[in-house]
């Protein structure tokens, strides 16, 4: 009689850990940034199309929803970049000790949040305050 091949257990059997959550977040932010490229394309095409099209983009980006999307976009981009750097460090077979990998993972999370806030404060200063 045929027995099924042994399978490794899937996600739900493990206790949630920071490294695991950040691994999932890395993939989720990557997928979000994939579709976020539509926003960049829209902005560039509008700039190339003319003042009226550009005014539409400016209106959307300046609205509450647009600002929330852009804030999320900024964080996703920074988190994916820092998470990528963490993966590149791991690719060199460094940082795998329990304390090291926790530190690296925590650093990507805190670093991405801190950099997002700094970038937005700088952004608002450049623009001369919220509009």
């Amino acid at each position: 009689m045929q027995r099924p091949r042994p399978l490794s257990p899937h996600l739900q059997i493990y206790k949630p850990m920071l490294t695991m959550m950040m691994s999932i977040v890395h993939r989720v932010t990557g997928a979000a940034l994939y579709f976020g490229m539509l926003l960049l394309a829209w902005w560039l095409i509008a700039a190339a199309a003319g003042p009226n099209a550009y005014a539409n983009v400016e209106w959307f980006m300046g609205s509450l929803i647009g600002q929330l999307v852009l804030f999320g976009y900024t964080w996703a981009l920074l988190h994916h970049m820092l998470g990528g750097i963490r993966h590149l460090i791991w690719d060199t077979i460094h940082g795998f000790e329990p304390a090291e990998r926790e530190l690296l993972t925590l650093a990507t999370l805190i670093g991405s949040i801190a950099l997002t806030l700094i970038l937005w404060v700088v952004g608002y200063l450049v623009m001369g305050g919220p509009r």
């Binding site: 091949r5 960049l40 394309a41 095409i45 190339a48 003042p51 550009y54 970049m81 970038l119």
Partner: protein, 130 residues
């Protein structure tokens, strides 16, 4: 089936070079584009910060200037390949039914080409006028 069937190793798939039939080349290309993506992403964020709140005429002029346009083009092309590999990896992880796998892989290619070429076109138009 014979008794050896249940314990068959993944060697069969390895010999076929994996689910996408292309071995480890994508793994390496994803690393190359991620390294390139670090300075390019920083460049993109600096450019966008510099353009915040500026008039359309100023944005057109800055985006069309050579250094800025080249950084933007590099960012778009590098990101296009990186996100194409990344989405393919996600699809291969979750879409196992052959028909849907092929359709979503195809849609991934169409999406990446359309979005990145539209962005590249916009940059070139801003750079060369018309």
């Amino acid at each position: 089936m014979t008794g050896s069937q249940p314990m068959r190793t993944p060697m069969r798939r390895v010999r076929g070079l994996g689910a996408a039939r292309s071995g480890t080349s994508h793994f390496w290309h994803q690393r190359v584009t991620s390294v390139a993506g670090i300075p390019l992403t920083i460049g993109l964020m600096l450019i966008i910060t510099a353009l915040l709140g500026r008039s359309h005429a100023a944005v057109v002029q800055i985006l069309g200037s050579p250094i800025v346009a080249i950084i933007m083009l590099l960012f778009i092309i590098n990101t296009a390949y990186h996100m194409w590999i990344g989405m393919q990896e996600i699809i291969l992880d979750y879409v196992h039914e052959e028909k849907w796998k092929l359709l979503t892989l195809m849609a991934n290619t169409f999406f990446v080409f359309a979005v990145s070429l539209a962005s590249v076109y916009a940059i070139l138009k801003l750079s060369f006028g018309v």
